[in-house]
């Protein structure tokens, strides 16, 4: 029984050692190539537990997650109107064909990146050269990105890489051009500000003028109506007078004259030079009134 226990234990250890040499796992994130004496014999694209011949076989793993290529420094491109643009882009890519990838870039990610960066640069330069700043910034940004994806993807397939996306990040004007843009923006704002102020003045004047007009009209109309009413009054009064005075015009003339005398001659500063021979003084010289 001792022996059997020892045997079992030894057997277990041996099995473990052999298993560790002959078995390998491929992670969910990885693909693998099995090389037998340097010759690729098996490509594993699925995760799980796999067998290899111990010592003879050699396994190489490749990360097949989506990778990013994001250059630190923006590149300078020239647009069709010969203006410089600083462009920052990033590329999303992943290995889809490990064998091809291994053959063309030796499975070296850095080399793959350099290769991709060149393709992206060349294509971007070409696309930007055909377009104006406005097209690049807004109008055809998506078109460029789609085109870039297709072109770079086609090229990348040669190294076993799929390009999922090429996206423009920053599309900026160089510093010296930015300054010019700022000056233009400033001028533009000044124009707007002046226009606003003038508009304000104009509208204010309009309102004031309208108010003045209303005032004139209101007062004039009121004056007109007032005069009409006064005229009505005058007419009524005249009619009343005429009706009354017509009864004895001669007496009216006398009556009215007397009143006029009284009204016009009533202060000390009025000096009358009278002739005592007038009718009024007929009793002044003789009690009979004879001259």
């Amino acid at each position: 029984m001792n022996r059997s226990v020892s045997t079992v234990l030894i057997a277990l250890v041996v099995i473990l050692v052999v298993a560790s040499l002959a078995l390998f796992t491929v992670d969910q994130r990885q693909n693998a190539i099995v090389f037998r004496l340097g010759e690729p014999v098996q490509v594993i694209t699925k995760p799980g537990l796999f067998l290899k011949v111990p010592l003879l076989d050699n396994v190489r793993f490749f990360d097949v997650r989506i990778l990013t290529m994001d250059p630190d420094e923006p590149e300078r491109y020239i647009t069709s109107e010969k203006k410089n643009l600083l462009v920052d882009s990033f590329v999303k890519w992943r290995i889809v064909d490990v064998v091809q990838y291994y053959i063309s870039v030796g499975g070296d990610e850095t080399r793959a990146r350099i290769r991709l960066a060149q393709t992206v640069n060349d294509n971007l330069r070409a696309e930007f050269g055909k377009r104006t700043i406005h097209d690049v910034v807004s109008g055809e940004r998506e078109t460029i990105m789609d085109l870039m994806r297709e072109k770079v993807d086609t090229d990348a397939r040669k190294i076993g890489v799929q390009v999922l996306d090429v996206r423009l990040k920053r599309v900026d004007l160089p510093l010296e051009v930015s300054e010019a843009v700022y000056r233009r923006m400033e001028a533009e704002r000044k124009r707007v500000a002046n226009e606003l102020r003038s508009l304000g003045f104009a509208e204010s004047e309009k309102i004031r003028a309208d108010a003045d007009r209303q005032r004139e009209v209101i007062v004039a109309e009121a004056y007109r109506d007032a005069q009409r009413i006064k005229g009505q009054g005058d007419a009524r009064a005249a009619a009343t007078y005429a009706q009354a005075f017509q009864q004895s015009p001669e007496f009216y003339s006398f009556y009215r004259s007397l009143e006029a005398y009284r009204q016009s001659l009533k202060t000390k500063s009025d000096v009358l030079v009278l002739d005592p021979s007038s009718d009024f003084f007929k009793f002044l010289k003789s009690p009979t009134g004879k001259r």
């Binding site: 989506i66 940004r141 700022y182 304000g200 108010a211 009864q247 000390k268």
Partner: protein, 393 residues
Amino acid sequence: MALNDPNWGRRGEGPPDLDEIWNRFRQRVAGLFGGRGGGRRPGDAGGKGFPGGAWLLVVLVVIIWLASGFYIVDASQRGVVLRFGKYHQTTEPGPQWHLPYPIESVEVVNLSQVRTLEVGYRTNVKNKVLKESLMLTDDENIVDLQFALQFVLKDPKDYLFTNRNPDETVMQVAESAMREIVGKSKMDFVLYEGRESIRAQAQKLMQEILDRYQTGIAISQVTMQQAQPPEQVQAAFDDAVKATQDRERQINEGQAYANDVVPKARGTASRLMQESEGYKQRIIATAEGEASRFRQIAAEYSRAPAVTRERMYLDTMQQVLSSTSKVIVDQKSGNSLLYLPLDKLLQLSAAGAVAPPDNGERSVAPEMQSQAPPTVDSRPRDAFRSRDREPRP
């Protein structure tokens, strides 16, 4: 076991046997584990102890090995179990167990924790990162934009296995998407009325791109922290805003003027109307009054014309002469040139003094105050007097 233990001597048949001690220990432990260890091999236990101990060791190792598969998933987390490197399952919060290494492994991801990303600034909006925040707009202006986004994981499997740096990807996508949206919009739209729309569009686009990359990330919120013109042109923009207010102010001032002038004019108008109405009433009343009076006097006059006429005439003359200055000159008494110092007379009358004339023989009789003879019939005179006080139109 102490030295004075009575059992000590009983065991002292020989020196203590290490094997025996080990066997006893083994048996006890085997008993603990039930029939398997202790029950199956009670016979061989008396022999060599080591192989039996090895079993025990193996069992222990196996237990520890199995126990290494325990793990705890927190309420906000999910466990992702890989079997031989292949995705096996996602486990819910609570204590969990997986087949131990090397068969299965687990990766615990924080699922519901909200992660925040700041674009264009760090920590504080004032702490700007111009490289990220300055963007070109459709009309080739430059705006300064700061925004933050919050995201959670919606699919731990995608998050772990599809992208190498999913968190970094969010930053790249956020910047790229926002610039694309801003690049399509006019500056005024970005800065003023369109902020909400820009934000929503950008969020939608970001999510689309992230889904395309299968990052397993859900953007829960994009917030515009600040959208303003670059510092270099800030002053001009502020002035434009001020100009808007100036415009408002001027219009308001105009309105105020109008609100002042028009009602006042209405007031003037109604005053004119009322006055004219008053005038009309007054003039008519006056006319009627005077007409009525005249008719009455005329009626009396027609009854005794000569006397009434004479009386009225004298009354009036008396009144006139009593209140005026007068010079009576008898022209028939001599035709030599008469000197009449009118200016002096006027001065005198103005001063209210009386200057007697030096020439009495020529009957120049200045009479400043005449004594009115008492009138028998005072009615008409009173009537005249009262009439004087009436206002004349």
